[in-house]
Symmetry: C2
Subunit: 358 residues, 2 copies
């Protein structure tokens, strides 16, 4: 049996609209429009799908309690792909969400052989410090390690196993072996973690590849009775430099938030997939394609605050007035300006990170 | 796919010799003969099979460290079936074993809906107090609850899941669903529990129905590398009063260690399956069959210390000289004499049980 989405796969997701239709996912647009000052990734549609978000929208509107649960896999560098998610965390915190961040150190130990000590270091150096620099506050924020989740959390994983069946898992994930099954039970327990003590509306912002976990958790939560079914938002993949997926194991596929200005310039100039034409003449004549241009995507979803400027860039690039080299140059400037400020904040963040581990 | 033994089944095991041959289990007899003053259940062959016991025999002989791991399912009354196992625990402790007793409260919660509070009460009232009355000492003895096993223990269960496959589980257990899988991973982690900090030869005395868990644990321990493969001993089932299995849910199938003298007399007289003939005349002529007589089995494996007396009883019963009523009367006297003394010890045990939970 083969499932439509493989959360452990490298392939990503091809047809978002088909997935939304097949798996009962709504368009996030209608909620995004009503949110106050959302980050670019929400405003400009990177966050594309939603499930049961209305109860979160209502909690925001009525200033009622709600939680956000997100996870991080402590391996490799924190890069632009992670940033889009981090900005959502920080944004929902500003709207009143209680933040729960699970460090998937058991997962990284089991699947990648990363020791718990190393995982802790990566989690802090690469993730938490960047989260703080991006605006995460320690109040109403709990960061926990899977390896230290405690007895109630571990029990929940076992309860979950007892409330599902092998056939159900095969329907959701295709062929699945025991190690991945336990990983699924753990992730379902993570998604319900904010509700261990008391039920609370919970939003889980994830990439489309993690959609099966959210759906399965909702099915299991329904059977368990005592939980509010968790809501999800689903973002499209931020393209890697070369157009494919950003991969922690391939530095030429991403820009890390700790990269220096020269490294950024080199990576964009050398690797960033361009929507431009092969020759200058052809480009002037036919124009470029911003929809597949990686630099343009980065500007759109992360670095160009001004809607007017973005529209102008798009128009000029499509017409051929703006050349690929010029677009890349502008992108490099924007990224480096951001990173300079961000990296200064990251150094300051070191003073306060301990407050996040209560 | 159907496995030869179902550890969750009610059927028990039919042909012990076939199981031993098929699953590579040796006869315990050769070790039993060399043990000093073993309890009746060992001396008289109730403990019938063994796996890799030689390393335990060696540890005993050379006075080296070794551990015993056993589990208890906190549900129902502590009865004669449990006593045979408890006597083995106490005996191995006297030979120097470090004792680990896991209270399977997660298991009883998941499969029988017993709350953790209730499980704790049953574990203490029905099991621990009886263990102590039977001679268990608090030194070198750790009793732990699955629900409080801690992070290392829970992690071990997940590591186990990653070191096995669905096909392997199907070979061992037949068709198996997710809840039972997690139960298997938990039990494998329990069997390795004494070795979490440091590897140590471990014996797991269990009924034949639990043999698959021991075998699987050995296979997984082999893959994990850092553990000494656990040894097992396998006892035959102590027959229930009516000849079938003792079942906690059917009081007419067992004698509980808290039963009073009248209850014992009534249960033996009314329910105990007899190997005698249908009429007195026929019995005198043909003789009885002690091999299927439940009273005789109880005397043999638990209550008749004297080999000479047991031999005489067997001979007289087989010849027809001893009548079923007489055999039952003798059995009732022996059981009640034991229980009177045991129940007095059990009352005293209440003073010290807290020392077992460190």
């Amino acid at each position: 049996m083969k499932a439509e989405i493989d959360p452990w796969g490298k392939g990503g997701v091809k047809n978002y609209d088909k997935i939304c239709k097949d798996l009962g996912v709504g368009k996030f647009e209608k909620f995004a429009k009503k949110l106050s000052k959302p980050p670019m990734c929400i405003k400009r549609g990177l966050v594309y799908g939603e499930k049961d978000f209305s109860k979160i929208a209502e909690a925001i509107k009525k200033k009622k309690r709600f939680a956000l649960l997100t996870g991080l896999m402590p391996s490799g560098k924190f890069h632009l792909g992670h940033m889009a998610l981090a900005q959502q965390i920080v944004y929902y915190q500003s709207l009143g969400a209680e933040i729960y961040i699970v460090v998937a150190d058991v997962e990284s130990f089991l699947t990648r052989g990363i020791s718990f000590e190393e995982a802790r270091k990566i989690a802090i150096e690469e993730y938490v410090l960047n989260y703080i620099a991006l605006g995460l506050k320690p109040s109403k924020c709990k960061i926990y390690f899977q390896s230290e989740g405690g007895n109630e959390y571990n029990l929940l994983g076992k309860i979950v196993a007892n409330k599902t069946t092998l056939n159900e898992l095969k329907c959701v994930y295709g062929d699945i072996d025991t190690g991945k099954m336990v990983s699924v039970f753990t992730q379902v327990a993570d998604i319900l973690y904010p509700q261990i003590k008391k039920s609370i509306p919970t939003v889980v912002p994830v990439g489309f590849d993690q959609l099966p976990h959210v759906n399965l958790t909702r099915d299991i939560a329904k059977k368990l009775g005592k939980y509010i079914l968790p809501s999800g938002t689903f973002h499209k993949f931020m393209p890697g430099l070369k157009g494919g997926k950003m991969s922690s194991s391939d530095p030429s596929s991403y820009i890390a938030l700790t990269d220096g200005p020269k490294e950024v310039a080199k990576k964009i100039n050398k690797y960033a997939f361009s929507g431009g034409q092969e020759t200058l003449e052809l480009h002037r004549k036919k124009g470029g394609n911003p929809d597949v241009d990686v630099s343009f995507q980065y500007l759109k979803f992360m670095f160009e605050e001004s809607d007017a400027k973005l529209k102008q860039l798009e128009k000029d690039y499509r017409s051929g007035k703006l050349l690929t080299g010029e677009l890349k140059k502008y992108t490099i400037e924007k990224i480096n300006k951001f990173l300079k400020s961000h990296q200064a904040k990251r150094i300051k963040a070191r003073k306060s990170f301990k407050r996040f581990f209560k």
